[in-house]
């Protein structure tokens, strides 16, 4: 399992690897789950109370389904760790952060200077998401 390179949370990380969505439904004590691109994120909504970690896998960076999965979970009120794993590249992490990811475990570790640039590059955003940044239109109309 790849190392967590960035984590924007203060709570203790969950040590266990995530179980599959299928296994998660049967193991009533699991608190970590791993979502593949084709998995239905909404299947987790009834169990959000006991989930502390959701790993969202990006087997290839161009498969963008994980962005929707992340937003759906956050929109449903999930507050635990949301970790991007797999082919997580420096030019994707800012988008991921906006969709609610707060931990990153890339297969290939990111260059720290490039990653810092990427996280901080865009101070303004056009769309509201659950990341709490005020969109430009909100600032325009105070």
């Amino acid at each position: 399992m790849a190392e967590v390179q960035y984590r924007f949370r203060d709570d203790e990380p969950v040590a266990d690897p995530g179980v599959t969505v299928g296994a998660f439904g049967e193991q009533s004590n699991a608190s970590a789950v791993r979502l593949e691109p084709g998995d239905e994120a909404r299947d987790l909504i009834p169990h959000l109370e006991r989930i502390r970690l959701v790993e969202v896998n990006f087997p290839v960076f161009g498969d963008g389904r994980g962005y929707s999965s992340a937003r759906i979970l956050r929109e449903a009120g999930y507050t635990g760790e949301l970790r991007a794993v797999g082919e997580v590249l420096v030019d994707q992490i800012a988008f991921m952060r906006r969709c609610g990811f707060d931990a990153f475990a890339p297969d290939v570790p990111l260059d720290p200077a490039d990653a810092d640039n990427a996280f901080g590059r865009y101070g303004e955003v056009y769309q509201p998401t659950i990341d709490g940044l005020a969109p430009i239109w909100a600032k325009r109309h105070g």
Binding site: P37, F61, G64, R65, M96, Y126, T129, I136, H141
Partner: protein, 545 residues
């Protein structure tokens, strides 16, 4: 026209710096070409057959004269002196050096322009009616809605890695001049019986190898829910669009496979959920944008001596009849500058010509011009009594070709002369057809001819009254002929006539089709009307018989 505020400017400036950094990492060898590819693609930079090609976004086709002038300067400074206007109302430069690309983006940012999302599997530049704000038949100017979509779609965090590219168009009149139903999402701004404005959503149209006409999935989305509805339509696509086969990855396949009703049901469910997420900009934002698209200060009749067109010069009169459209404001007219001189490359203009058009936009059209999806330039607001002086300058610069919507006004993609995906050349075929039929084109009348160099259909061949598709036939270039395509309110897809032709053969075949039309046409019939009445078998007989 829309002007950036400090927020919009900060966004494109940040993008320039980001791309500069990405190019530096590539040139210094920190990233491989494979890793660089998705980054340059999201900046509109393609590696073509001979050089890099840069595609610059022209949102809804509208340009100020300063922007147009910059496009001419870029052609001279960084390219070989030409720019190529595209069917997406954008401009492309075919001879770009990678190390220059960040400087080009910086120059563009100085005039509030960019190349953001002009390629890649994301929401592309939004197109619109080239006569927006000028056409007599529009319900309202569609561009403020397109601008709202531009902002919403720019760096959208959820929709930057869609199954495939995603194209949107916004119009506001029943005469669809933007091929709206052939887009991933087409929006028509409409007025309902209560007099309120809303957005009709057409989803799942497109060309490419499986052309489809978009069905209407919601005839009236209130304006203060338009972005939320778009987000719902995109989310269903992002989650469920096919990713196993790039040729089945466009939204049209999803809509087709699910069926319109099931797709619509899923969008409506997602929409209900998203309504609770407060993602819609307030109507005040739409009003802010609308205010920037207010009419220019048209002069009223009586304040100037005459608003009439002096038609005594027959060449000018011909150009007026072919290239000008009635304006909503009396005394004014919308003039189209054809970039289709006989034997020329469709959509190409030299740096000098681009700068001249910029000057003419400033002097004759309230500082504004438009790029059309037929690869021409429109001066939207010309005072009729100044039209002759305008035309004289155009004519002197080789920009006075009187052939709008005639057979010489060919849409052609770059084809095998530039494009690495091409099966066959498009440009020489366009040039030969243009030359062969030049003397007849006025007699033939309206005939939209469109050429693509491969099945990707960038030249919109499915929507041509006559369409030509370049294919590979055992290693040689071959051309299929299609008849009966049409965009607009009565959108239809062209049908293949039969066996393909070589380069000279396709020119002959087009000529035969036009001769047959001239022999058959009834009173007032365009080529398309005659084709629809007479049918494919008769045309086939005339072409192959």
């Amino acid at each position: 026209m829309y002007r950036y505020d400090t927020y919009d400017q900060a966004m494109v400036d940040a993008r320039v710096e980001e791309f500069r950094d990405q190019v530096r990492r590539r040139l210094e060898g920190h990233i491989t070409e494979d890793q660089f590819k998705p980054l340059r693609l999201m900046n509109g930079l393609y590696l073509q057959l001979h050089a890099y090609m840069l595609r610059v976004a022209v949102p809804y086709g509208t340009l100020s004269s300063a922007q147009m002038r910059m496009l001419g300067d870029i052609a001279d400074k960084y390219d070989r002196g030409y720019g190529h206007f595209t069917t997406r109302q954008n401009i492309q430069y075919n001879w770009i050096k990678l190390e220059d690309a960040p400087d080009i983006l910086a120059d563009l940012a100085k005039v509030e322009m960019h190349a953001i999302q002009t390629s890649g599997n994301c929401i592309r530049n939004t197109t619109s009616d080239q006569y927006a704000g000028a056409a007599a038949d529009e319900v309202v100017d569609p561009r403020p809605y397109a601008e709202l979509i531009r902002q919403w779609s720019t760096f959208h965090p959820e929709f930057s890695f869609l199954p495939r590219k995603f194209k949107m168009a916004v119009i506001a009149s029943d005469t669809d001049r933007a091929a709206m139903k052939l887009h991933d999402i087409g929006i028509q701004i409409v007025r309902n019986e209560a007099g309120e404005l809303g957005a009709a959503f057409y989803v799942g149209g497109g060309m490419g190898r499986t052309p489809m006409i978009a069905p209407c999935i919601n005839p009236f989305v209130p304006l203060d829910q338009m972005i939320t509805y778009s987000e719902a339509a995109l989310r269903v696509y992002n989650r469920h669009g096919r990713r196993d086969n790039k040729y089945k990855a466009r939204i049209k396949i999803l809509v087709h496979e699910l069926g319109k009703d099931e797709y619509t049901r899923q969008v409506e469910a997602e929409f209900q959920h998203l309504l609770g997420q407060n993602i819609e900009p307030p109507l005040a934002e739409l009003e802010r944008i609308k205010a920037q698209f207010a009419d220019p200060p048209f002069e009223k009749i009586g304040t100037v001596p005459t608003f009439e067109i002096d038609r005594s010069d027959p060449d000018f009169a011909l150009w007026v009849d072919n290239n000008c459209l009635a304006h909503k404001q009396s005394g004014y007219i919308a003039a189209t500058i054809s970039l289709k001189p006989i034997g020329g490359i469709p959509g190409d203009a030299s740096g000098e010509q681009i700068r001249l058009m910029a000057d003419l936009a400033r002097d004759y059209s309230f500082d504004e011009c438009r790029v059309t999806h037929a690869q021409n330039i429109v001066l939207p607001h010309v005072r009729k009594d100044q039209l002759y002086a305008l035309w004289q300058q155009l004519d002197a610069a080789g920009l006075g070709t009187p052939n709008l919507d005639l057979v010489g006004d060919i849409i052609a993609c770059p084809g095998l002369d530039y494009c690495s995906l091409a099966n066959a050349r498009s440009i020489p075929v366009a040039q030969k057809i243009g030359q062969r039929l030049a003397a007849k084109q006025q007699e033939i009348g309206e005939l939209k001819l469109k050429i693509s160099g491969c099945i990707n259909a960038c030249g919109h061949h499915h929507a041509g009254h006559i369409g030509i598709l370049g294919v590979d036939k055992k290693g040689t270039e071959n051309y299929q002929l299609l008849l009966g395509g049409c965009e607009g309110a009565d959108t239809s897809l062209g049908q293949i006539t039969g066996p393909g032709f070589d380069e000279d053969g396709i020119v002959d075949a087009v000529e035969k089709a036009t001769q047959f039309y001239l022999a058959q046409r009834g009173e007032g019939e365009r080529f398309l009307d005659t084709y629809r009445r007479v049918g494919m078998p008769a045309f086939k007989e005339a072409i192959y018989g």
